[in-house]
Amino acid sequence: MPEINVPSSIKDLEQVQSVRTPIRMEYTFTPGVAAQTYLREFANKKILGAVSPVDGAVLVPPRGADPRYGALCDEFVEMPHTGHIGSFCVTNVPIPGRELELPYISAWIFLDGADIGFLNLVAECPPEECRIGMRVEAVWKPDDEIGMTAENILYWRPTGEPDLPFDEAGVRGWHVRGDGESDA
């Protein structure tokens, strides 16, 4: 790094090394039809997926369209509350504003029958025992606290059933399940 020459008036002073640059946005989120349908049923402890009209792929959570083809998805299916871990990350560094106890595991959860995963927490599992292909189930909030919110599911925990083979876990499973041509 080149030496920076500063005027003598500030040369011997303690230099500023950091600045606060907080960013804050406030807005109103209005979910579309697919997300509304999902949220209303989520408040009944049901998880909905959307079925692609093109190849029958099941997309969870529903976003209203199959993003690969831009095709409208207006058919919903109810999903089981079990799945497996497609990939995961162990976080050891705290983030301001996130009150989770360290270390914690975030994982891509693939529900049984789903073709894509979603990001969620995994707990009741030491990080060193977390595996790609590990089978998990949802741990819900108490019934009287369930609402139209992503916070309904506290985390996912291992079921203890045998793992999915690595080659079939997460998006690797496309080659096993489908025609091998999926580009989702």
Partner: protein, 151 residues
């Protein structure tokens, strides 16, 4: 879907960033704390304010920081009648590009006048510092018409 049944929820997204400044922006911020403005010299002798670590045209590392004036000229401006909640300013004000004396690039800051009729491209302004400075761009409360500051 019946509009009355439509769901909606307030979302607040907030990042409490603190960013490290590096040797050039750090010196600029140190200058603000000491109530002086620093720019950086390019090879052709022109001065960039605020300073950058690299020449924006040639990408050459720049190292020569110089003090520029605390008065300058409004090169263009717009009027903010209703500052948003996040704005550093509570009252109506101008946002202006200000070319400080001794600098070759204008930078954005507020001009604190009461109404847009008091604004004019080419008008002379000078810095109004906050009483307490800490090494932050908001150490500059804003700019005011030059005569007013000397009054």
């Amino acid at each position: 879907m019946n509009p009355e049944e439509r769901l909606s929820a307030p979302i607040v997204l907030e990042y409490p960033f603190t960013r490290t400044t590096g040797p050039v922006i750090g010196a600029f911020m140190t200058g603000l704390r000491e109530k002086i403005i620093l720019g950086i010299k390019r090879d052709d002798g022109t001065v960039l304010v605020p300073p950058t670590e690299y020449d924006p045209v040639t990408s050459k590392a720049l190292t020569e920081m110089v003090e520029v004036g605390q008065t300058g000229e409004v090169t263009t401006w717009t009027w903010v009648e209703n500052p948003r909640d996040q704005s550093p300013w509570d009252s109506p004000h101008a946002l202006a590009m200000i070319l400080l004396d001794g600098s070759d690039t204008p930078f954005l800051h507020a001009v604190l006048v009461e109404e847009p009729d008091h604004m004019k491209t080419g008008m002379r302004v000078s810095i109004k510092w906050k009483k307490e400075t800490e090494g932050h761009i908001q150490d500059i409360e804003g700019f005011v018409p030059e005569k007013e500051n000397h009054a």
